[in-house]
């Protein structure tokens, strides 16, 4: 049985695409990495957030492991925080010097900056049914947007509340907030390493989009 030519073409095209993309995959880092607050190194902690939920969030912890060479562990089923990061890397654009129609054009690579993003998902430490402790961690090689989102569910209703923080300014970092979608109440208190002063504010981003605060300039 000979495959029909169209399929033959598709196979070569797919192989070609894969080869082309393989060259681009320079950064093997995964987009979202999962960590548990209990496993965090206390020296790395940027911020500790104590949350008292008005209603007990769903708690059904699961651990998912996959990957053959490099083991990837993921967690699910209980409150976590999403911390967004970005990286400004160097990329190359192809510029052209001269007029291409005259065959005297000189293509040259021009450096540009490219922004890529990644997330760290840090699962909270359960103190009791309504009290959780979260830690914000850095991700090596990535720049933080100084914001994060607390994610949880109550009876399967998923909710997210975003916060922004700063260590350069000082404000009251203990307050009550109401979540945007279902109006769940939570009272939060932030602690900064070494008992240093800092500032935590609710930042009113859409659930699922941490790092896009309602104000452009973050905390003041």
């Amino acid at each position: 049985m000979r495959p029909i030519p169209a399929f033959h073409c598709w196979r070569w095209l797919a192989l070609g695409c894969a080869a082309a993309l393989a060259g681009c995959a320079t950064n093997a880092d995964i987009y979202e990495r999962h960590v548990r607050a209990e496993d965090a190194n206390p020296a790395d902690v940027v911020l500790t957030l104590d949350v008292a939920f008005a209603q007990a969030p769903d708690y059904d912890p699961q651990t998912i492991e996959y990957g053959s060479k490099v083991k990837v562990v993921e967690y699910a089923g209980y409150p976590s925080i999403d911390v967004p990061f970005y990286q400004k890397g160097m990329g190359l654009d192809l510029g052209v010097l001269g007029d291409p129609r005259t065959l005297l054009a000189l293509p040259y690579p021009s450096p540009t900056t490219r922004t890529t993003s990644a997330q760290l998902k840090i699962f909270g430490e359960r103190l009791d049914a309504t009290h959780y402790r979260f830690v914000v961690l850095p991700r090596s090689g990535w720049t933080s947007t100084n914001s994060f989102q607390v994610e949880f569910a109550i009876n399967g209703r998923r909710e997210g509340m975003t916060f922004a923080y700063s260590t350069k300014t000082v404000c009251e970092s203990r307050f009550d907030v109401t979540t945007p979608t279902y109006g769940f109440g939570m009272s939060v208190a932030a602690g900064f390493p070494g008992g240093k002063p800092g500032c935590l504010k609710a930042c009113d981003a859409r659930p699922g989009y941490p790092g896009h605060c309602a104000f452009f300039s973050g905390v003041e």
Partner: protein, 306 residues
């Protein structure tokens, strides 16, 4: 300036002509006249805008909603941007709004705002209230419709309550309190989407219309009773509402407006239920009585068990 004036004069000459000489059947000249009128209006308003603000500042401030909030509009757009303490504020990542108004009550010393975002922003009707000097938004209606935004249905017999039927939410306009009613029992799956049809006088209990029953639910907690208002009874009861919504949508279309006929139908259902059912406080808490139906209690899971 002289150019726009002469243009306006020419258009003014054109406008009265069809009304005097042309019989009403002739559409084209009317269209021409209206186009000319629109042109006049747009050129004069543009001219005024140019005179008011030099070319360097095309953005003008309009209708302040009060407090530390400001609205910013653009000359040729009906979209606004919200500013809080002089900084652009993007609640739930939406930055352009077609409708912003102060609700009346204040929170944290600042007015509460009712806002409808532009459809591309993907956020429907929201309420903005300040907590700890940070404005925070609450979702009121998931409906995304710029031509006929969901501004809530005033519950019949109530002065200060807006029902957002599709989102299962209600807004107490005198206090700015947002109520959300869960229609699902824990771990339950329901195919039908709920409609919030009525809220009890104490603003704690709500009636949600499902396709085979009415569920009674405590705000923010969950359902506690079920009224057996079945599919067959609903079909009979809501038949006139369907015809009425269709007639109203057609009338609106004839006027050149687009209305959300599905939401109108849902709101007519809610009005029918409010006319035919009433809230009654008894030994077993608030019940929703009507049509000779008796509410049956649902198994309520206590908070500790979860």
């Amino acid at each position: 300036m002289p150019a726009s004036l002469s243009c306006g004069a020419a258009a003014n000459d054109v406008v009265p002509a069809p009304t005097k000489t042309v019989p009403p059947g002739r559409r084209r000249s009317r269209v021409c006249a209206s186009v000319a009128l629109a042109l006049t209006l747009s050129t004069t308003s543009a001219a005024q805008a140019q005179r008011a603000a030099p070319a360097s500042a095309p953005v003008k401030a309009i209708q302040p909603p009060g407090g530390a909030f400001e609205l910013e509009g653009q000359p040729n757009s009906n979209l606004y941007r919200i500013k809080y303490r002089g900084k652009p504020y993007r609640p739930l990542n939406a930055y352009q709004f077609i409708h912003v108004r102060a609700l009346g009550p204040t929170q944290g010393g600042q007015p509460m705002l009712l806002a409808v975002s532009n459809d591309f922003m993907g956020v429907g009707t929201i309420l903005i209230a300040v907590q700890n000097d940070t404005p925070l938004a609450r979702v009121l209606s998931p409906t995304i419709d710029v031509r006929d935004p969901d501004m809530g249905l005033a519950q019949p017999g109530r002065q200060d309550l807006l029902l957002f039927t599709a989102g299962s939410r209600a807004l107490v306009t005198s206090t700015g309190q947002v109520l959300w009613f869960e229609h699902l029992l824990p771990k339950e799956y329901q195919r039908s989407s709920p409609l919030l049809v009525s809220v009890s006088p104490d603003n704690r209990h709500g009636a949600l219309l499902l396709d085979n029953e009415i569920r009674l639910s405590v705000a923010g907690e969950g359902p506690y009773a079920s009224v057996p208002f079945t599919r067959a009874m609903q079909r009979e009861a809501f038949n006139p509402a369907w015809d009425q919504s269709r007639a109203r949508a057609r009338a609106a279309l004839d006027e050149g407006k687009h209305i959300d006929q599905r939401r109108l139908h849902d709101n007519l259902k809610a009005e029918w239920i409010n006319r035919n059912f009433r809230w009654q406080q008894g030994k077993e808490g608030w019940q929703f009585i009507g049509q000779g139906l008796k509410p049956a209690a649902l198994p309520v899971q206590s908070k500790k068990e979860q």
